[in-house]
């Protein structure tokens, strides 16, 4: 009887020719993301998206109009305060379009980050009762935010069209083709950071407060309000280290024709996205198995 329990079990498994549908064991492999399982639960993801969409603006007077009011009011405020009063430079673009492009892009990233970072804490009741791939929640957040983003983006295009008709000098160009890539990088960064933080908040709820004002602070370190070109040369390196900077600048260049476009910066941003998604997934995956014991 010198065999350890594990060995005995392994022997038993070897002896048994039967097929098991599921084996529950203490720890999963590090990078086993079980995307196949997530695919099986795709109906659930879509129902979560629907739920979020339907329930958010129920019992509000203006309903879905809020999707347009939010970016519009933010843009008007920025235009008034930073544009008219502080007279900050806007790369020679109409102030309204400059701020709106930044706001719309930033809102998608920030929403993804803040909402996914609440995954475990907000759903602890649900997660404690039934099993489904936990990743379904952050992925559904990503998708429902994408819908919001497209609504606001379309709204932005309306204003672009208006300014073009009025003969303002803005030049949408071939970089528009990079739009899907920008979207992918943004979504990835929001998801990666969000799930990483959500996994850590299971132990320290304090992080949640950090996220909400951290995101606001980060906005000032992203060219939403101030273009990179307006920053003194020797400080530019810092703002360019922010992986969200190339996204905002490229987006602005593509649709409005002014901004800093650098393939190297985009590659850096893409690389950051890949790393953060990988790290986030690993941590999320590890926490998922036992988080009920700590929440």
């Amino acid at each position: 009887m010198t065999q350890s329990i594990e060995q005995q079990i392994e022997n038993q498994i070897a002896e048994m020719p039967e097929k098991w549908d599921l084996i529950i064991q203490p720890q999963r492999r590090l990078l086993d993301l079980r995307l196949g399982e997530l695919w099986k639960y795709r109906d659930l993801v879509m129902l979560f998206v629907r739920r979020d969409f339907v329930s958010v603006y129920k019992q509000t007077i203006l309903g879905p109009l809020w999707y347009l009011i939010q970016p519009l009011l933010t843009t008007l405020t920025f235009t008034f305060i930073f544009g008219n009063i502080a007279q900050l430079p806007t790369d020679g673009l109409p102030q309204f379009l400059f701020y709106m492009s930044g706001t719309v892009v930033w809102a998608y990233f920030a929403d993804c980050l803040v909402k996914t970072s609440n995954t475990f804490v907000q759903n602890s009741n649900l997660f404690g009762k039934v099993y489904f791939p936990r990743m379904a929640v952050p992925v559904s957040i990503l998708i429902s935010n994408l819908i919001t983003f497209f609504i606001q983006f379309a709204f932005f295009l309306v204003f672009v069209g208006y300014f073009v008709l009025r003969g303002t000098a803005i030049q949408p160009n071939i970089w528009i083709l990079s739009f899907p890539l920008l979207l992918l990088i943004m979504a990835g960064q929001g998801l990666g950071l969000g799930i990483l933080i959500s996994a850590m908040t299971t132990k320290y709820r304090d992080l949640r407060f950090l996220v909400s004002f951290g995101v606001t602070l980060l906005m000032y370190a992203t060219p939403v309000i101030l273009p990179v070109s307006a920053i003194p040369e020797r400080f530019q390196i810092f703002i360019r280290l922010n992986p969200m900077t190339p996204i905002v600048e490229t987006f602005r260049y593509a649709f409005l024709g002014a901004g800093l476009v650098s393939v190297f910066d985009l590659l850096y941003s893409f690389g950051f996205m890949v790393v953060i998604v990988a790290v986030g997934s690993i941590v999320f995956n590890r926490v998922e198995a036992t988080f009920m014991d700590t929440v």
């Binding site: 084996i23 529950i24 203490p26 739920r51 329930s55 009762k129 709820r205």
Partner: protein, 422 residues
Amino acid sequence: MTVAISVEHLSKSYRLGQIGTGTLTNDMKVWWAKKLGRPNPMLKIGQVDHGNTDGETIWALKDVSFQVEQGEVLGIIGRNGAGKSTLLKILSRVTAPSSGFVKVKGRIASLLEVGTGFHPDLTGRENIYLNGAILGMTKQETARKFDEIVAFAEIEKFIDTPVKRYSSGMYVRLAFAVAAHLESEILLVDEVLAVGDAEFQKKCLGKMGDVASREGRTVLFVSHNMESVRRLCINGMVMRKGILLNKSKIDDAIANYMKSGSIGDAHMLFPIDKAKSAQFTSIKLSNIDDIECNQFRQDEIVRISVSICFREKLHACMAAISIISDLGFPIFTTSDWDYLPDLRFCQRLPGKLEYVVMIPEKFLFPGRYFLRLGLGISGHQKYDQIPSTVGFEILSEGSIMAELGDKRIGVVTPMLEWQRKS
């Protein structure tokens, strides 16, 4: 017979003390209380304080191994903290085991709580699909079962109303209906039948019985209600303190379970639940001199004192006590309406009420009994129900059997008149 679930050397440990409470402020509060020698303020009521020493390990499950065959309906019984729920949580993959394996054939669906994931703003229809998906069904599977679910829940008229407008009964019916119609080979059920009115409970039990016998699914059932366990299950498994005591036929398991524990206190307070319009607040057993005890000579009176709290004006309300044998068989039920028929037409006003009910001497057979309490209007409404409360033991001392030294059978020993005709 093929094996559906094979549990091998399953253990689950919880580290206490190291985990902390989640925020720095709460961590400080715990530390401060410890300094002052006060109990840990973050523990839930009823939770045992294990001293919170760093790194202490509690085994919720320890080296549990067993197999469940396909189509077997297995009842898992044990006291609070025996590890039943932890076992179901591991099986339903809500949490991972610390060591050991579980091998499963077929899809597992768990019914750990009805209505999980219901969103109050969505309509009944939307919630059926959402809940179904959470429980692992695809949209098509839910759609196939949709009419059946709605019919079972009896909510046809309200299917497009947001569920926040439902009565609590409708809510629970809908939730149970979705879960009960899951397409899975294995069903885990944890104490869900303690909801809804009596009629619906009966229906749920019936449905569960169908699931097991007619559809041939494997069911693991955890409950404190020995009657429903006995009715549903073929086999039973007794657990105590994380260890599997034995697995046997359900009757043996229940007898084993009842024998294993002490009867406990003669006095019990029930948690205040403001959501209930009326509820029991306490129960006490005492002897003829009103001295608290739970062992009685057979020729002694058993005094049962219950306190009831009414929070709202009720048109009528019946209080009932059932005496349950240690095997889970109900012996008899008595209610205040039996003795005071006028109460049937009498309003109940908010306030407290105390009853003393006496079980006559030389009536119950020597043995162990448990009390069950109920408040409501028979067949219509249930305000409060407590499936198992204090227990007591009738000793054989002072009984006619002890006097004669015989071994008669039965559950009661009424003194009857024997008229001699010739």
